[in-house]
Symmetry: C2
Subunit: 223 residues, 2 copies
């Protein structure tokens, strides 16, 4: 196995992040590469979900992973060890989000030539990452059952930006006061168009549906 590459991010020099994001999105599209930005709170199960997704898609597509964290390399380590996918770890140096310039640094460091599908695991934070367009093709937001059904009410922008909301850890629904009706009502007040996919990355429930969503969105993007 390759040694894990850890990149200490430099601050972005671009004043206009939106323009830089559009440029990156255009470059990716021209190369036929689909970039999925995964956002969530710390501990929602992003890395486990990602590992399962890669297992189910890696027979069909060449996949790379850009992991971002303030510090540590446990996520990229885990992805590389469990799935064999090419992964790099970005350190944001205290920064609470990724922007398009940082995302580009990550993709270039990954050596992404020939990849079909790149997952960007954003910093664990339900606030700031939603404010910065990374240049990704689509945005996925993961919320886990233990975090509570009221989160779309309290973190509006994150749920507004989602193309898909993945509700993880549904295996522990019996142990938490989480109402699917309440959650759906709050989510739809923020976002009427996104898909909602309940899963348990631990038991595998719903993972087929999520893998199909990713594959379908990628195929549509590449057309």
């Amino acid at each position: 196995m390759e040694e894990l590459k850890i990149i200490e991010l430099k601050e972005s020099v671009f004043a206009d992040n939106d323009a830089e994001a559009e440029k990156l999105r255009g470059d990716l599209k021209a190369r036929g590469q689909f970039l999925l930005n995964l956002m969530s709170s710390p501990g929602s199960g992003k890395t486990t979900t990602l590992a399962k997704l890669i297992e189910s898609l890696k027979g069909r597509y060449k996949i790379g992973v850009v992991e971002a964290d303030i510090d540590g390399a446990v996520d990229a380590d885990e992805i590389q060890r469990e799935t064999g996918a090419r992964a790099i770890q970005l350190h944001t140096g205290g920064m609470c989000h990724l922007d398009a310039g940082m995302t580009r640094q990550g993709i270039e460091s990954l050596d992404a030539d020939g990849l079909d599908l790149i997952f960007l695991e954003n910093v664990g934070n339900l606030v700031c990452p939603a404010e910065f367009d990374t240049g990704a093709s689509k945005c996925a937001v993961i919320l886990s059952v233990p975090e509570g059904d009221d989160k779309p009410l309290k973190y509006p922008l994150m749920f507004e930006k989602a193309d898909v909301v993945i509700l993880n850890k549904i295996d522990v629904l019996p142990y938490f006061d989480f109402s699917m009706d309440t959650f759906t009502t709050y989510l739809r007040a923020r976002n009427s168009h996104c898909d909602l996919i309940p899963i348990s990355a631990k038991t595998g429930e719903g993972m087929d549906k999520l893998a199909s969503w990713v594959a379908d969105e990628m195929e549509a993007w590449r057309k």
Copy 2:
């Protein structure tokens, strides 16, 4: 019951947040008021923990609560309804943290005269709130079992800033891969001096110990 007051925060005008925080801390100390800054991810159980804490301390102390969220008023509503404590809701208008100027706005709006103990429930975010001194007397960080034992590794500053780390939702330890040894090792690598108090706000386990911690720190502060 009083109607709930919701304050739309203005951006702070102070260039030097550290100086403003020291000033607020001094003002609070002069009035014999203890301000505890509660920080955590969304969904770690801050509000439930707070409601239980207030129940156990309100016979001895006059307590107020400043709740901060980007949007919504569910937390201040819940606190006021369940405990009868004086509470206000701050809306940060998208901002991911509180600073000392915003905290002062909150305390002034709470009409804090005569209170002994003020809880500040910061924005749910394990990154940015740690970067800003609010002027609080002490900082508490809540992590919940479902978030995972690796969080001190990935969110260093938050755990470095803690005077106490409250590990919540220990009632669900059997359903998650959470190693108390791993967690303690990572936590101690970030912070050798903070207290660590495992609790379940749901079942009440550990809440006596937490209430004693708050009362002891408050008494020490007021001396």
